[in-house]
Amino acid sequence: MSILLDKNTRVLVQGATGGEARRLIPTMVDYGTKVVAGVSLGHGGEEIFGIPVYGSVADSLRNHEIDLSVLFVPARFSRDAALEAIDGGIPVINVVAEGVPHHDACEIIARANKADVMIVGPNSQGMLSPGQAKVGGTGGEVPDLMFQPGPVGIVSRSGGMGAEISLALTRAGIGQSTYIAIGGDLIIGATFVEILALFEADGETKCAVMFGEPGTAREEQAAEFIASGGFSKPVVAMIPGEFLENRDAPAPTSHTGALIERGIGAPSEKKRLLRAAGALIAEKFSDIVPLVREALENSASD
């Protein structure tokens, strides 16, 4: 089992004839992802790596059933591509571009909510269910080195850190159910709460690891969700950036969501709330593996 993506998920690639897609489609297919079609404006009727390319999402849907679309289009075109996929009713849309205007992100999400479509991203490195399928850049060229099937669900505001955490777990012999990079932007679709809810329902997932960041109230909401019983499995959370509190120098991150504003988003407060909700807090990276072991033991004894 896994969430959002498995070996049977029928994947559409938008921006299928661009450079990003040319680089990433082969790695996705090699990993087992069922890429059924591509869309590229003005390229209808072509093929890429043997996959049919359509000139519009609507046309791809006339020929295929699609469960998930991944957008390999530049930031400035992400709004149009996402709205097209939403109009087509594709249930899950992964927006990977970095630098999508925040007004566009709000518009994408507002329309998606109305259509009951889940948006993962923008600025999401992708998602991966070990041994089954992956979309986006997650795992680089050697996903088997970083991921192996197992009981840990991973959800991260940082694509790179989620993968580093997976790598550390894999090296320690602990596998993952699914890894979701929700994105580092100020405005993103799915947040911790939505992903934790999916992990809760997934039988394979025995515990979750969250990588949070300063800014926004996403970890605070997750703490509330956990405390209210929405997620009943053990959680390990790492949230760097406490040193940014009461510091006015520029933050060492490009993530537009990682800004403490109006007193909201201090990592110390996020950690306090998560701890109070029963989560295990990794103050530093090397705490994660031992805490996950502890969490898995706790879940086994339940």
Binding site: H103, K114, G140, S158, A163, P250, P252, H255, K284
Partner: protein, 406 residues
């Protein structure tokens, strides 16, 4: 950074029919005096810097004669406000204010939409309202597809306790400000105070606009207004920061660089939003003092990395340098390392006094290791190590004067 100066902010608001005061800008006390005269002999002088809280810094003054204006202008032009030396003043007509409100439009990352913030208690900072009188802060989430109508603002502002006629005037200004927020791809607009004058008019007593950097590609006119005066949003650019920005402008669309200089002594060239943040924190935890913040987007890295490393190694008092990126991506490690190695060879570094620690892995990593091995000093690690390992290592080496070798 993308904070417009107050004159540009007021122009933007006025363009969308938010009433704003008459104003002028001045670079000299003489100019200031003549503007004050034109405004009728009474005016407010403010430092024109891309920073808030100017009043607290003593950089806002009421004057009631052109002579007084000249003196105050001279004083403020000599000041530095939150790291920004004051080079210009904005001089605004004085307003006969009856009542002040707080008004802002920003994004609500929880509701994932724009939100209008209004407080019947104006003239104080939002932080103060949030901390001391949170019940005085009212929030109106906006459905970005439907937009914001005057009637919605009217109901919202009346609900906050403002009487009907006045609420309607505030609502008109609010709806106009929302038009400006949308059209300019703003990250935040703040009007504090939104003022009711004794003659009954409602006017923006001041204006602050922060633009969404990720949308500047489609805001060419506004982008032009973001110049040298903004610095890095925190303080004016240093010589090194200017130099790195020039390097970035070789080809601004590939491998975009973010770089800031800090007080520390370990050059920190670690990229990745979360990875950089985690590494930076770990270095501090180990007792290290990062001298820079850094990020670079993936692409053909070589030339930019070459120039960055050369520029950064010239920082005085540097005790170490750490270069890294998370190991899970498609960015070519060999291209990145080729640039770094070329720079290190030219620089002829004494690695005992400037240890260099590198952690990269991914496509081209084997070639990268071979290239790095051509230079005798740096230590290169890959996916077998963690970010924590290299942060420990750079701190250990940097503050050991290189005497202790591995």
């Amino acid at each position: 950074m993308s904070r417009l100066l107050e004159n540009d902010s007021l122009d933007l608001l006025a363009h969308y029919r938010v009433p704003v005061p008459a104003y002028g800008t001045a670079e000299t006390p003489d100019e200031a005096a003549s503007i004050v005269e034109k405004l009728g002999g009474r005016a407010v002088l403010k430092a024109l810097v891309p920073a808030g809280k100017r009043g607290l810094a003593g950089a806002v003054r009421f004057v009631s004669s052109s002579g007084e204006a000249e003196d105050e202008a001279r004083r403020i032009l000599g000041m530095t406000v939150r790291y920004f030396p004051v080079k210009r003043l904005i001089i605004m007509e004085t307003l006969e204010i009856r009542r002040e409100f707080f008004f802002s439009i920003t994004f609500d990352p929880t509701r994932k939409c724009p939100v209008v913030l209004f407080s019947p208690t104006g003239g104080v900072d939002i932080e103060e309202i949030t901390a001391e009188r949170p019940e005085h802060l009212f929030e109106l989430p906006v459905n970005i597809i439907r937009g914001l109508e005057v009637y919605q603002c009217t109901d919202f502002i009346e609900t906050s306790g403002v009487e009907s006629g006045l609420a309607l005037k505030c609502a008109r200004a609010a709806q106009s400000a929302y038009q400006a927020f949308r059209a300019a791809d703003s990250r935040m607009i703040e009007i504090n105070p939104l003022a009711e004058l004794v003659n009954g008019e409602v006017i923006a007593g001041s204006g602050a606009v922060i633009l969404d950097e990720q949308a500047l590609f489609r805001q060419p006119e506004l982008k032009k207004k973001l110049g040298k005066e903004q610095g890095n949003g925190w303080r004016p650019l240093t010589e090194l920061e200017n130099c790195i920005r020039k390097i970035d402008s070789i080809d601004p669309h590939v491998c975009a660089i973010r770089f800031n200089e800090l007080d520390g002594d370990i050059a920190f060239l670690v990229s990745g939003g979360g990875y950089g943040l985690s590494s930076f924190e770990q270095i501090i935890r180990e007792g290290g003092r990062p001298a820079t913040t850094f990020d670079i987007t993936p692409g053909p890295f070589e030339e930019k990395m070459f120039r960055i490393v050369k520029a950064v190694c010239k920082m005085p008092g540097l005790r170490g340098m750490v270069l890294s990126a998370n190991v899970s991506n498609f960015a070519r490690v060999d291209r990145r390392v080729a640039g770094i190695v070329r720079a290190l060879k030219e620089l002829d570094i004494d690695y005992k006094h400037l240890p260099v620690i590198v952690r990269y892995d991914g496509p081209g990593a084997d070639d990268a290791r071979k290239m790095m091995a051509e230079v005798p000093g740096p230590e290169m690690y890959g996916a077998e190590s963690t970010l924590e390992d290299i942060c420990k290592r750079i701190v250990e080496r940097s503050y050991d004067n290189g005497v202790k070798q591995q």
